[in-house]
Symmetry: C2
Subunit: 462 residues, 2 copies
């Protein structure tokens, strides 16, 4: 739930411009429980987390929780946090009768970030695990190299060089417990020796910022204009920048060549480090993949990849390709962030046998069909909505008329859709004007549910 | 290698009282390469790591490395550190002819910390993986609860309560990437809000201290007398203590009841937290297992367990049982330290099916036979050596005459044994007088090699 809590706030469909934040939040939460969107036993985010996500004071959230505990909708137990109460009050709703339709429990999940889990290749994965374990020497089961198993690092070096244009050799690859294992290690390494600033994009994932913050790094937003993200500016330069150059999340566009050059120039001029988040580089539909930024300057760029989108997030498998000068120090910071050796060996076998390529090709075809259906449906049924960021990845951005985002997110909930507005991903200190848009993840619903999800989405759009 | 680097220093058999540290280190390293103990391509620890392990200045190590690179024994490449050169110089050794026998390449590994890897139940583990994956819902492959899969937390709650006397319920259990994943999370959590001190035992694992240090925690040594470890003392009290009450590592003794009480009293009086490292609680031979300290006060003790000794370190599976008041905050710090869901589900199935208990029982029997053979051989062939810490675990402490430890470690190397002296594990600021002893890990050699290892050990003893 760590990652999904990040986006819990928006699921409440809370209108922050309403009369009194606490009252609005209390009403939204009560409604979510009453309607069944929040089921009995569900653990709510901490008041601190939710307050941060919503950009409100912690007390506002704490008081809303307390009100609902008092009313019996929620239950709080020392230490295990606040949950939806097992039996919710039968007392009549004391609010005035609503003038709008009630959102039901979401039928379709269009929250971006998770691939179609039903297509995880269970049988082939288990077969690869059997072959890998049969071939592994006993010592592979010991503590081993903190960079991970050589079999996987070798397979990754070949794959990343071939498929993503990464300058990789096995000595400079470190296998980590998902993207976040790699980012956490880097944050600890960068913070060593004192305060540290890692600039992030004006739109991005809130839980990346939070992880960096917990590790003691500031996360100022990077400047941003109609041509994309710019390098850090000004005297208080960041020590590193984190960005997704191949497919910006959530905007969905690749970093333009001129901006790539500007970023590399910044890194060379200031000695800064670029952290390249290549979370879904495998999924590009209309032309050749955009090569990794790392290829431009392997001494200035740390490349971070993951199996979370190409296979499944639950594997918690990620990898780093590091500048030579950082490898040794990075190894010392890997303790407690190393994934299990059986998954490592299995992924190595999966890559070496061609199973990985086959799986990615099939998934790419499926996702491309979904995307095409999305574009066609929108052209017909919501011609005023502009779709962007669709050349790659597992999500699209649907640009909305100014000021309508909250309303559309709410309408989507009424139509049984869990979907996020773009504002969910906006850096609280971003210097750009907010944009109204939906971020539609089309990877998650199983294939058979996609037509229904699309229909519900079109009904919610203006 | 992260963990084994910690102990690399002692493998050099470096006599630190010799004429000139740099010269002594250079000679010891050259000899290690020439004799084949360090094989071509082996990566050496960073000069900082080795300097810290040996307690010498970093420059001393850096200069020794530089000398040996110049001589052609080692090779240094920018970024990939220092390695043993592929072809070592054929030039005659310029040192005076040695007056002592040359140690050969170690034949037997008696370094503690790793169980017998050859007995990892590969077939049964794969079968459990197949059953677990067949039963898992698709959503299990997603991001999920940061505490880990409910199947595993439920199975662990039952097992820990039954086998270790831990007060556990699934809500308070967090699955982590090995013991170090849990310790790293706790260090980050404790350091939040500023400086933090985690007291550790006067003898313990250097890489635990290093991990805490990297996370920003001081690690003062706990006082220690002939009756065992004492709670922190004095005005600058620690915020937490880390210790292994069931089977102190490396001393091998359980914490006495009076000391358990004193520790709990300290925690209650000061609001301190006890971090209980129960690394090998499964392996107790002569009587009932010593119950976990956590059972005495689940609100003051964090229990840390691991599959590294009972199954294999490569699984990187560990677990925490937390006081209720810490669960919520701990969940926020788990990002990047969560093990893969397939291993989690497999261990759950392994526990639930009874395979885990069967494996531990069989391993206990094997290790107990080894221990009995060790005790019998020592009684006959080295009657002056006192063996302690043998009621449990996978290692024994062999007490040596004062001042002889380095010499015995060297003699062991001549007999083809990799083994550590007790001084390897001594806290550099420990207030107790150093003791001379060997720490003999009897888990690692495969069964067929144990008799040979024992014979070689006896030959090395005074």
């Amino acid at each position: 739930m760590g990652e999904t809590w990040a986006t819990f706030g928006v699921d409440l469909h809370l209108d922050r411009s309403g009369p009194g934040l606490r009252r609005g939040l209390t009403d939204a939460l009560r409604e979510a429980v009453r309607s069944g969107r929040l089921t009995p036993g569900t653990r709510l985010p901490s008041s601190r987390s939710l307050a941060a996500d919503l950009g409100v004071a912690r007390n506002t959230v704490a008081e809303a929780y307390a009100d609902l505990v008092a009313e019996g909708w929620l239950a709080a137990r020392q230490g295990s946090g606040t949950r939806v109460a097992d039996r919710t009050p039968a007392a009549p709703d004391r609010r005035p009768a609503p003038h709008r339709r009630e959102p039901g429990r979401p039928t379709y999940d269009l929250v971006p970030g998770t691939p179609e889990l039903a297509s995880f290749p269970r049988t082939r994965w288990l077969r690869a695990a059997r072959r890998a374990l049969a071939a592994a020497p006993d010592r592979a089961l010991g503590y081993g190299d903190p960079r991970g198993r050589i079999e996987l690092r070798t397979a990754l070096a070949g794959y990343l060089s071939r498929a993503r244009g990464v300058h990789a050799d096995p000595d400079r690859i470190i296998v980590c417990a998902g993207f976040l294992g790699g980012l956490g290690m880097l944050a600890e390494l960068l913070r060593r020796g004192g305060a540290c600033s890692v600039a992030v994009e004006s739109y991005g994932l809130p839980h990346h910022r939070r992880l960096l913050g917990r590790a003691g790094c500031d996360t100022p937003p990077l400047p941003f204009d109609e041509r994309g993200t710019l390098p850090p500016d000004g005297p208080a330069a960041a020590r590193a920048v984190l960005l997704a150059p191949s497919h910006q999340f959530p905007m969905g566009l690749p970093l333009l060549p001129e901006r790539r050059t500007a970023l590399i120039d910044w890194a060379r001029r200031t000695g800064g480090l670029i952290l390249e988040d290549d979370y879904d580089g495998e999924f590009r539909y209309d032309r050749q993949p955009v090569g990794a930024l790392q290829g431009l300057d392997p001494d200035r760029v740390v490349y971070l990849g993951t199996a979370s989108k190409s296979l499944a997030p639950g594997l918690r498998l990620g990898w780093l390709v590091l500048p030579p000068s950082l490898v040794e120090e990075a190894m010392e910071h890997m303790s407690g962030r190393i994934p299990g050796v059986l998954d490592q060996l299995t992924l190595a076998e999966f890559l070496a046998s061609g199973d990985y390529d086959r799986h990615v090709r099939a998934a790419r075809l499926r996702y491309r069909r979904r995307r095409d259906a999305l574009v066609a449906a929108l052209a017909e049924r919501a011609p005023d909505v502009r779709v962007t960021g669709i050349a790659a990845g597992l999500h699209a951005v649907l640009q909305l008329p100014p000021g309508t985002e909250q309303q559309v997110v709410r309408a989507a909930a009424w139509n049984g859709l869990a979907v996020h507005g773009l504002s969910t991903f906006r850096h609280p200190e971003a210097a750009v004007a907010p944009l109204d848009a939906l971020v539609v993840g089309y990877g998650t619903p199983p294939d058979h549910a996609w037509a229904g999800a699309l229909d519900a989405l079109c009904r919610a759009l203006p």
